[in-house]
Amino acid sequence: MRVIGSYLPPLMMGLILLGLWEAAILVYNIPPYVLPAPHLIAEAFWLHRTELLAASLVTLTITFWAFIWALLTGIGFAIVFTRARFIERALYPYVVTLQVTPVIAIAPLIIIWVGFDQVQRALVIIAWIVAFFPVLTNSVAGLRAVDPDLHDLFTLYRARSWQRLVYLELPAALPQILTGAKISASLALIGAVVAEFVAGSGNSTGLAWRIIESGNRLDIAAMFASLVLLSVIGIGLFYTLTLLEWLLLRRWHPSYR
């Protein structure tokens, strides 16, 4: 009952909105090249289902690898930063620079440098730049926030550096690392879409390219179908990580009391 209770209101709301959408198009006579009716979007999806699913797989692959690299490098740099302050001081300004420079502005450069024959790799790098920062900052904050008394305890028992990391700092930082990962997953998807837009025709066959191509043909229904798939991927990533968070933290973290 509780499960139904929590899914029912958003589901009802969605159906009502779709109904209003259909009705508005009939009442105000809106042409489908401006705003297609929901049933037309469904039709477009069915018509292009093979290309759309293939394109989804391309975008999802780019997002996935960008996210994995963001996790590995974000946590890795956070560990280095919290161990060696001078490395943090030396590198941090450049990390921030990389973060604040609009990625869309450096994307063409990256594609040129990596090479047009390696577009897939260039796209992953662009999406990684977008996704990497929240994992880094959240991990650094988490690793730093460990109770000093617990550090004293580990010192008292002559814990080696790796023991302190594995038994104390990483588990203590896990909730914050997962928060960073959640933000980063959504950003990886945004990065992948931006990268595909920049890469342009012929080089990329992901959902973003489908959107451009449908737009050029004024096939707005197909455009919406791609858009819906992007949302589905984003929602899927978010809930996968929420599930992972629940699995890892539910037994001990106060937020799951």
Binding site: D147, D149, L150, D152, L153, F154, T155, L156, Y157, R158, A159, Q163, Y167, L168, P171, A172, L174, R251, W252, H253, P254, R257
Partner: protein, 260 residues
């Protein structure tokens, strides 16, 4: 009894112009149960950390006349929230495996109990002794404040220390729980022939627990008073109602009031 730890002219300051402790000289004898009293902010907690070599003193020397293995009970339970009570108690054995548990040098990668077969048993034995037999598999958040503190004491005991340091551990607990834990601490320390240093701001707690009470001054300086408590070896709640208990608490309170 022989001296275990000797402090000579020990000083500590965060900045050169703001001394916190000392110069302070003091002998801690083996088997002593010593309470350290003093106004808040007088550096009692810092003194414990200096003795445990968790901070270097700014001046003076601390000599360990015999090998010392410390157990530290902090102001808060300071448990690892993600580990069960048993795995928290076994933590010192896991960290110090080569030293404490020569039979289990090889990491099997199958978690704690597999890696160190004795650690889990030692932890269970101590949890049992603290009256927590049924809570070994619980995570700290499922335990009350008093139970968490018992886990923390079991953890301090698991590494077989010969000197226990307590940093005002029961201040946040209700009175009955505190009385319980006071009794338990005294009996464990005596049964195991340990040396104990107990920082507290409660005069009653100091007279109940200790054989010796040290009073630190509000501002850095030598010890104000070094008192021997006369009382029975085995203490229970009757000791709290004893005229001798009341007399000594009043005398100590008077000294503390004077110290500001």
């Amino acid at each position: 009894m022989s001296t275990l730890i000797g402090l000579e002219e020990v000083r500590y300051s965060y900045t050169p112009d703001r001394p916190v402790i000392g110069p302070l000289s003091l002998q801690i004898k083996q088997g002593d149960i010593t309470a350290v009293l003093g106004p808040s902010g007088c550096g009692k907690s810092t003194l414990l950390r200096l003795i445990a070599a968790l901070r270097p003193p700014s001046g003076g020397t601390i000599r360990y006349e015999q090998p010392v293995q410390f157990g530290f009970v902090f102001q808060h339970p300071t448990l690892l929230d993600w580990r069960s009570a048993r795995d928290n108690v076994a933590l010192p054995l896991l960290l110090n495996r080569r030293k404490n548990n020569p039979s289990a040098q090889k990491e099997t990668g199958q978690g704690l109990s597999a890696a160190a077969p004795n650690a889990g048993q030692i932890a269970d034995a101590w949890l049992d002794r603290m009256g927590l037999r049924d809570s070994a598999d619980q995570h700290p958040r499922a335990l009350s404040g008093g139970m968490q503190m018992r886990v923390s004491i079991a953890r301090a005991m698991a590494a077989q220390p010969n000197c226990l340091l307590f940093d005002e551990p029961f201040a946040a607990l209700d009175e009955l729980t505190r009385f319980d834990l006071n009794r338990m601490v005294r009996s464990v320390v005596r049964q195991e022939h340990l040396t104990a240093l107990f920082v507290t701001h409660s005069v009653q707690e100091s007279v109940f627990l200790a054989d010796r009470v040290l009073i630190l001054p509000k501002h850095a300086g030598p010890i104000i008073a070094d008192l021997t408590i006369s009382g029975p070896a085995q203490r229970n709640d009757e000791w709290r109602a004893d005229p001798l208990f009341l007399e000594q608490t009043q005398a100590i309170s008077a000294i503390l009031r004077e110290a500001g």
